[in-house]
Structures are given as C-alpha cells and as structure tokens.
C-alpha cells in the first residue's frame, strides 16, 4: 500500500467520522424536550447516588437491580417512593426528603415517557434488524 493511499484512506475516514459526529450533535434524536428544573434535579440525584451502578435504563447500567426505564408506569410513584425512603436488603435507604423524592419521580417519569425498553415489544426482521411494535 503506497503512502499516498494510506493517507487518503485515513483522511477520508477521519473526515467521514467528523461529519458523522457533528451531524449527530446538530440533529439529536429528540428535538423538543420539556426538561423542567425538577427533572434536572432528579437527574442530579440519580447521578449523585450513582443509581446506574445497580440499575439500568434501556438495558444499560448495572445488573444488581432491575431496569428502571418504565418503572414509573409499571409500578407507580408510591412504590418508587417506598424504595427511595427505605431501600431494601441490597439497596441502601437514601432517606430523601419530599422535594428530592418529587425530583426523582419527575426524572423517572421523563425516562418512562421517552420510550419502551422491554425486549418483548420488539419484532425481529428477516435481515436481523429489529422494530418496536406500536
């Protein structure tokens, strides 16, 4: 392989990568989002307590606890509140105040409304791709 060809391939790939990256940044999948300060506080709490170490969102995260993507509709706010206040055998009790609990609930509701993570909701196609069933 000549030096020119190597440089040409590397330059083309890097240019394609940068175009792809900046195109993605400028056209993020969700354009309009009502992200309130309460949700933002919930996200802060989620990160401060490192919830993702044990829990998943869309299957990404730790596996010690369940996936929480759709826990808001599946279990409801009271169930979540009980866990946030008291924890369980494995999960520490975070002793959150009412304001923080409301913030966590708002953030979990935001995640819940973003989509469905349940693998049963997907249909597989002959070419190996998947589609979410409405």
């Amino acid at each position: 392989m000549t030096e020119f060809n190597k440089v040409l391939i590397a330059t083309s790939l890097t240019t394609a990568f940068l175009c792809y990256s900046f195109y993605l940044y400028s056209s993020l999948p969700v354009h309009e989002t009502a992200f309130t300060t309460t949700m933002d506080r919930g996200k802060d709490l989620w990160q401060e307590h490192n919830c993702t170490a044990c829990h998943q969102v869309y299957g990404l995260g730790g596996f010690l606890g369940p996936d929480l993507t759709n826990v808001y509709t599946q279990r409801g706010p009271e169930y979540i509140t009980a866990f946030l206040r008291n924890g369980n055998l494995t999960m520490p009790a975070y002793h959150m105040n009412d304001q923080d609990i409301q913030a966590m609930l708002a953030y979990l509701k935001h995640i819940d409304q973003s989509g469905i993570s349940d693998p049963r909701s997907f249909k597989t196609n002959y070419d190996g791709t998947i589609e979410q069933q409405q």
Binding site: P29, Q47, H49, G62, D67, P92, I111, P119, F122
Partner: protein
C-alpha cells in the same frame, strides 16, 4: 527498530508498575462485587455496590490506560532508537495521572460519583486527566518525529492517543444542557463516546502487540504489509462507526443502528482471517513459546477469537435485543478487558522488564502457573456469565415474568460459579503480577550494581 538504549526514559516503567498495582486493586473490588451478588446486603452500610462497582471499573480502566500508555511510550523509544522528546513532560503526565487516579478512587469511598454508566467519576477530575493526556499526545507526536513511511504500529499508536482525547472530551458533552436535557440524546452521545473510546485504547494496545510480534519475529516487513494496514483500517472503521450496537433498543435515530450493524459485520473479515490462519499461527506460536511474554500473546489470541465471535453475534440486532441488559454483555467486556487487553499488557510489561529476553526471567514457574490458572478460570468465569445472561434473557421474554428478586435467586448457582472462578482468576493474575514485580526489583538491583 532499534534496541532500547541508554537514552531511553525509564518513566514509562512507573506507568506500568502503577498500572499493575491498580490491576490488583481492581480485581479485589471485582471479587468484593461478586460477593455482593451472593450475599444480600454484604458491606451495604459502608461499601455498598454503588461504590464497589466504580472502584472496580475505574481501577481496571486506569490499569489499561496506564499500561497502554507506558508500553506505547517504551516501545516508541525502542522504535525510534531515541529517548522521549521531553522526559519531563512524561514525568508531569505520570504525576498528574497518579494524583488524579487516587483522588478518584478515594472520592468513591466518600460517596462522590459522576453517576454515568460504565466509566464514571466526578467531572472535575476529568480536567487533570485531559491535561495529562494532552501532555501525552504532545510528547508522543514530538518524539516520533517524521510520520513518513512508518510501520502500522505507529499509525495505531497515533490513532489511539488522538481518538482517546477526542472521545474522552466527547463523553463530557453531557454537562452542556443541550446534550443533557433529554435522556435519549444524552445516552446516544454517551455511548457514541464510550464505544469509540474503547476502540481508541485498543488501538494503543494492538499497536504495542504488533510491535512486539515484529520484534520477536525479527521481520519488519509484517508491520508494513498491505494486510497489516487493511486490518488497521478495518479496526479504525469499526472504532468510528460501530458504537451504535450498544444502543439498538434505545429510541434514537434508526440510521445509527443500521450503520453500526453493517460496520460491525466487517469484523467477520477479521474473524475469518484468524480462522483461516489458525494452523500457521499455531506453528508460529510453538516456535516462540519458550519466550515467556509470548505465552501471554498466545493466550490473548485465543481470547481475541472468542470475544470477537461473541461481539459479532451480539452486533446482530435480532440477537442483541435478547442479550442486551444481561450478563452476556459483561462476558464480552470481561473477555475483552481481561483476556485481550490485560493479557497483552502483561506480555508487554514482561517483555519490557526483562528487556526483550536479554535479562533472565525471574520466577518463571510462578508466572507460567499463574497464567495457566488465570486462563482456565477466566474461561469458566466467561462461560458462567454467558449462562447467567441467557437465563436472564429467557426471563426477560417470559409472557408473565416472575419478580426480579426471584429471578436473581434462580441465578444464584451461576453467581457462585462466577464468584469462585473470579477468586481463582484473581489468584492467578496476582501470581503473574508478583512475578513481574520480582523481575522489576531484580533488574533494578542489577542496574544499580552495574
């Protein structure tokens, strides 16, 4: 390629030794995490899983980063036959890294987190890590000198150092509200960054691996061959565009998933080549097996095959939808970080500490036994994670699911196997690390005498 000379800076050795220390710490927290799977509430009040997981992940990731940068800096000096352009910069990088790494590990103990999935720490610590890496990039490029007619491993190293910086910065875009204010946008960009970041450190490691193999065989033409560059560009193509296979189930752009699916399948060519050359690789392996570090390269070769095969299977969306969110993903990560990255890094450390076989290998028996133990237990560990993943995948698609806690209880026998094999794996790797430390002290004392 020139042999190591008196101009060579020894600072990279400190990177390697600190990395080995972090590997041991990382394994210790990994085993602790295994026990937390087995015993509910184990250490919950003072070192719960939310602390143990980042302690484990960050220690091991920093082992990989320090090991890869230390090896690349050493081999780059061997390649150029000159020392580092600015040794003081490498020293400054080392100090910045070590202070930041230990501050990060302590921050977890005190409950300070970044709270991101996978590799996380408080964003303030990203600043010194970035500064340290910029020093590395500057020193590395300046020390290489001309980029004309360089072998493939120099291309791989440069790709690794530059792309790591890019993806590391990209992984902090979430602090900007534009990226942060929607979970789907945030996760899309996060996994774009992390997916490529792993590819970046792999480039550094594979570059070192190519350098070592070239050195062992004594044939420089391999590193300039058309095939070597074809494989490098396939790897680069994957580093840039295959990250979407992490987020097939995320309701993000469809084109990301399609691009990733197609690009991931190009890895079939690499898998096919490994299988095609299997016999000649075995013949080549037998020829060099007396050279102790080479044994680790052979072990890593086996893990490349297993991990790549698993990665390709998992990159098919119709399969990924079931394996995603299960321990199959962990099996893939463990195969890659232990079987490939760590085995290769240990091979480089062994080669560097014994100066490519010029210095007799101390505690060789312990090293070989440790390696055998680590390899065997890693295989059991890997299989048990796949079994746990398949069982969880079956639970995920049940029409009426049992409770999560009940499913975890049913997986308990598998968790016992993976924790026990994890302990044996840690023992084996500790034997290897101990023998490497003994080699370092013996070379160090002989250097002092001479």
């Amino acid at each position: 390629m020139a042999p190591s000379n008196s101009n060579s800076s020894s600072i990279p050795k400190y990177f390697l030794l600190t990395g080995l220390f972090l590997l041991v710490i990382g394994m210790f927290y990994g085993v602790l995490g295994g026990f937390q799977y087995l015993i509910q509430g184990f250490l919950k009040s003072w070192l719960s899983f939310d602390k143990v997981r980042p302690l484990h992940v960050s220690s091991v990731v920093f082992w990989i980063i320090l090991g890869a940068s230390g090896s690349a800096l050493t081999y780059m000096q061997e390649h150029t036959g000159k020392g580092l352009r600015w040794p003081v910069l490498a020293y400054a990088q080392f100090v910045v890294f070590v202070v930041s790494i230990f501050a990060i590990l302590f921050s977890y103990v005190f409950g300070m987190f970044g709270g991101r999935e996978y590799w996380e720490f408080n964003p303030w610590f990203a600043l010194p890590i970035t500064i340290g890496w910029i020093m590395f990039v500057i020193n590395f490029i300046a020390s290489i000198g001309s980029l004309r007619n360089q072998p493939v491993y120099v291309w791989q190293w440069l790709t690794g150092v530059v792309f790591f910086l890019f993806t590391f910065l990209e992984s902090y875009l979430w602090i900007i509200p534009y990226f942060r204010d929607n979970v789907i946008n945030d996760m899309t960009v996060q996994w774009k960054a992390y997916g490529s970041m792993v590819g970046a450190w792999n480039m550094l490691i594979y570059g070192c691996s190519m350098f070592l193999l070239t050195k062992i065989s004594g044939d420089q033409s391999i590193a300039h061959s058309r095939m070597a560059f074809a494989l490098y560009f396939t790897g680069l193509f994957n580093l840039m565009f295959n990250w979407g296979h992490h987020i097939y189930t995320l309701p993000t752009h469809d084109f990301i998933k399609h691009v990733s699916y197609i690009v991931s399948m190009t890895e079939l060519a690499i898998l096919g080549r490994i299988l095609w050359l299997w016999r000649s690789s075995l013949r080549e392996a037998r020829k060099h097996l007396h050279f102790t570090p080479y044994r680790l390269v052979v072990a890593a070769d086996l893990w490349v095959l297993l991990t790549l095969a698993l990665a390709i299977v998992m990159s098919v969306p119709a399969i990924n939808v079931y394996t995603h969110g299960t321990h199959v993903t962990v099996a893939h990560t463990m195969g890659a970080t232990i079987g490939i990255n760590s085995f290769l890094l240990l091979a480089f450390v062994a080669d560097i500490l014994t100066r490519g076989g010029q210095v007799p290998f101390v505690s060789e028996r312990l090293f070989r036994r440790g390696l055998l133990l680590a390899n065997g237990s890693l295989l059991i560990f890997w299989i048990s994670l796949i079994v746990a993943g398949i069982l969880k995948a079956r639970w995920q698609v049940m029409e009426t699911r049992t409770a999560f806690s009940l499913m975890m209880l049913q997986l308990r026998p598998v968790f016992i196997v993976f924790t026990l094999s994890g302990i044996v794996l840690m023992t084996g790797l500790c034997m290897v690390v101990y023998s490497l430390f003994r080699n370092y002290t013996s070379t160090f004392s002989s250097d002092k005498l001479s």
